[in-house]
């Protein structure tokens, strides 16, 4: 049996039943990663020794009966913008090429408490700025379904290593679609929780008002279990929200009878790939057949989400990334004259083109004379977008649509035209502006054989609605593995 083909929960059960040892699981993940990394390159850092050490520790805790959770002992990976104490955390940027955090993110602590065995840190677009994982300073990650295609981004590594079965699940982060879009491109499932549900403490900020950590796994049940483990109210994060309940598993019910599903017409217009459209509409009719009430409606303002997002995210990023200056950690230019040249050279050599582009834009829109016209305008637009969603959720339990206008593009195709690349986020970005939860799950494949993702969006704190619908839909189809995952271990 290839134990890496199991879902996270299946593996957790087998570990609990002593059918699989924790070290054995960690070794399987490491072996598989070693075999596939030269092709997939989903990791920036693999931590074999650390993984085995924590596997041994966790096995003990399981044997003692102190660790009983459903994910205890299961090998996983963490996106490289989430701090892990003692383990290199680079944000896939040269500027943090040697940064070993002195502390762990709360999300990591929560997963460790649940018995997670961290195998390594996954590749991403530099500082999560990108939709292809091609802006990483440490090389591109390839899509396990087709090595000539990107895995999506920015959590491309986190999604690719789950699809290729190098790990059982992973953590990603989503600022404008960075969990959902690569999940869709890689044929796996990912959740962007309601803003404030998962602590951002230790998540290296890109756009603070938009960033959320979330799970990536093979199916809805796994994602739900991970979400339950990772979500917490954290006093160290002022934007953390104390939720009424953290029970998401109870929503794993195969029943959508009477559920009201809205399909925004705006999401099916120009630019949407025909295969994607067909697969998503097919998913909608399956839910309808299962008893949901499906209706089309006009969400409105969709086209304004992207420009508003780029103003807000870039503005926040320009400030968030100011701390990378060669003084306290990370890269410092080898030669410079004086303080300001040290700043400029370290940053110019340390940051890649896309990051510089956004820092420049962000600095500009906040600069004197432009703040009102750009930044405040974007915040007002955000208020209107939130209002539009409020209106929609007064009528519908969930909103259903595609994750991205197309399936995974070929490597090297996207970066030449930034605006075209940004347009690829059109269906995911508004969710972050409005703080909503959303899930991406596979709903078919296109003519090229690349996975297509279905997006379900819920109202704030209503993860359970999207989990229930996603779970119900998932029951109607088999999980599809890419060829690379099926190959025998080398």
């Amino acid at each position: 049996m290839d134990i890496m083909s199991l879902t996270a929960l299946e593996m957790g059960r087998k570990i609990k039943n002593k059918e699989i040892g924790v070290v054995e699981a960690a070794k399987a993940a490491l072996d598989r990663s070693e075999a596939l990394e030269s092709i997939v390159h989903g990791f920036v850092t693999l931590d074999g020794e650390g993984a085995i050490r924590s596997a041994q520790r966790i096995q003990k805790l399981i044997d003692e009966g102190t660790l009983t959770g459903p994910l205890a002992g299961v090998p996983m990976a963490v996106k490289d913008n989430i701090c892990t104490k003692g383990l290199l955390t680079t944000c896939s940027s040269k500027i943090l090429y040697n940064f070993v955090p002195p502390y762990s993110a709360q999300a990591v602590l929560n997963m460790e408490k649940a018995g997670a065995v961290i195998i390594g840190k996954t590749n991403m677009d530099e500082f999560a700025m990108g939709s292809t994982t091609e802006t990483s300073a440490y090389g591109v990650t390839r899509n396990p379904w087709n090595m000539d295609h990107v895995p999506g981004g920015s959590s491309g590594g986190s999604c690719a290593v789950v699809a290729s079965e190098e790990v059982s699940y992973s953590l990603g982060s989503d600022t404008g679609g960075s969990i959902r879009q690569p999940s869709s491109f890689c044929g796996v499932t990912g959740i962007k929780p309601t803003y404030g549900t998962v602590s951002r403490y230790g998540l290296i900020a890109y756009g603070s008002s938009l960033d959320q950590i979330g799970p990536v796994a093979k199916n809805v049940s796994d994602c739900t279990a991970i979400l339950e483990a990772v979500a917490s109210f954290d006093k160290k994060d002022s934007t953390s929200v104390l939720r009424e309940n953290y029970d998401f598993s109870s929503a794993l019910v195969d029943d959508v009878k009477g559920m009201k599903i809205g399909i925004p017409r705006d999401y099916f217009g120009q630019g949407l790939d025909e295969d994607v459209k067909a697969a998503v509409m097919a998913a909608a009719s399956i839910l309808e057949q299962k008893g949901a009430i499906v209706e089309e409606f006009d969400l409105s303002l969709t086209e304004y989400a992207i420009p508003a997002y780029y103003v807000i995210a870039s503005a926040e990023a320009s400030s968030n990334l100011a701390r990378f200056d060669g003084v306290k950690y990370g890269y410092r230019a080898p030669e410079f004259e004086g303080l300001h040249e040290m700043y400029k050279k370290s940053r110019s050599q340390g940051f890649g083109a896309e990051v510089k582009r956004r820092i420049m834009l962000g600095s500009f829109v906040l600069s004197s004379g432009y703040y009102d016209a750009y930044y405040l305008k974007a915040l007002r637009t955000k208020a209107l977008i939130k209002e539009a969603f409020d209106k929609a959720f007064a009528k519908y339990d969930i909103i259903l649509g595609p994750v991205a206008p197309s399936t995974a593009p070929r490597l090297g195709e996207s970066l030449t035209d930034p605006i075209k690349m940004y347009l690829g986020d059109i269906y995911t970005i508004a969710v972050n502006l409005a703080g909503l939860p959303a899930i991406s799950l596979p709903c078919g494949r296109d003519k090229k054989g690349l996975p297509i993702g279905l997006q379900l969006i819920g109202d704030c704190f209503k993860e359970n609605n999207i989990i229930r619908a996603a779970y119900s839909f998932e029951q109607t189809r088999e999980y599809e593995r890419p060829e690379i995952a099926k190959e025998e271990r080398r």
């Binding site: 040697n98 940064f99 070993v100 002195p102 803003y195 404030g196 008002s209 006093k235 934007t239 929200v241 303002l301 304004y304 420009p307 780029y310 103003v311 320009s318 100011a322 200056d325 060669g326 003084v327 306290k328 950690y329 990370g330 890269y331 410092r332 410079f336 004086g338 300001h340 040249e341 040290m342 400029k344 050279k345 940053r347 110019s348 940051f351 083109a353 510089k356 582009r357 820092i359 420049m360 834009l361 600095s363 500009f364 829109v365 600069s367 750009y374 305008k377 974007a378 915040l379 007002r380 637009t381 955000k382 208020a383 209107l384 939130k386 930034p418 605006i419 502006l433 703080g435 704030c460």
Partner: protein, 97 residues
């Protein structure tokens, strides 16, 4: 392109952002920023008069900590990433002339 970004603007913004752009990057930045701003200008189609700018998505207020000492000396751990250090301090080029 309706937003023409001048050399002076790029120079000014790179001072703010502490970025040292090469001639080539500078030209690219002028183009990129111009076309991004053209795109962002789309927001002007929206009438946002009387709409309150929304900086925080949820009306969560008054998130406080009590004035209680919890942290001790963690200097070595924190300084471990410093590119240069001396006498328990982060070392930088001199800041005064």
């Amino acid at each position: 392109m309706s937003n023409i970004i001048t050399d002076e603007t790029i120079e000014y913004v790179s001072i703010l952002a502490k970025l040292d752009l090469s001639e080539e990057e500078r030209e690219q930045a002028k183009k990129d920023m111009g076309s991004m701003l053209d795109y962002i200008d789309k927001l002007n189609e929206l009438n946002t008069q009387g709409v309150e700018p929304m900086s925080h998505i949820f009306p969560v207020n008054n998130v406080f900590r009590e004035d209680v000492l919890e942290n001790g000396d963690d200097r070595d751990n924190l300084l471990s990433n410093a590119p240069q250090k001396k006498d328990g301090c982060y070392k930088v080029p001199k800041t005064v002339e």
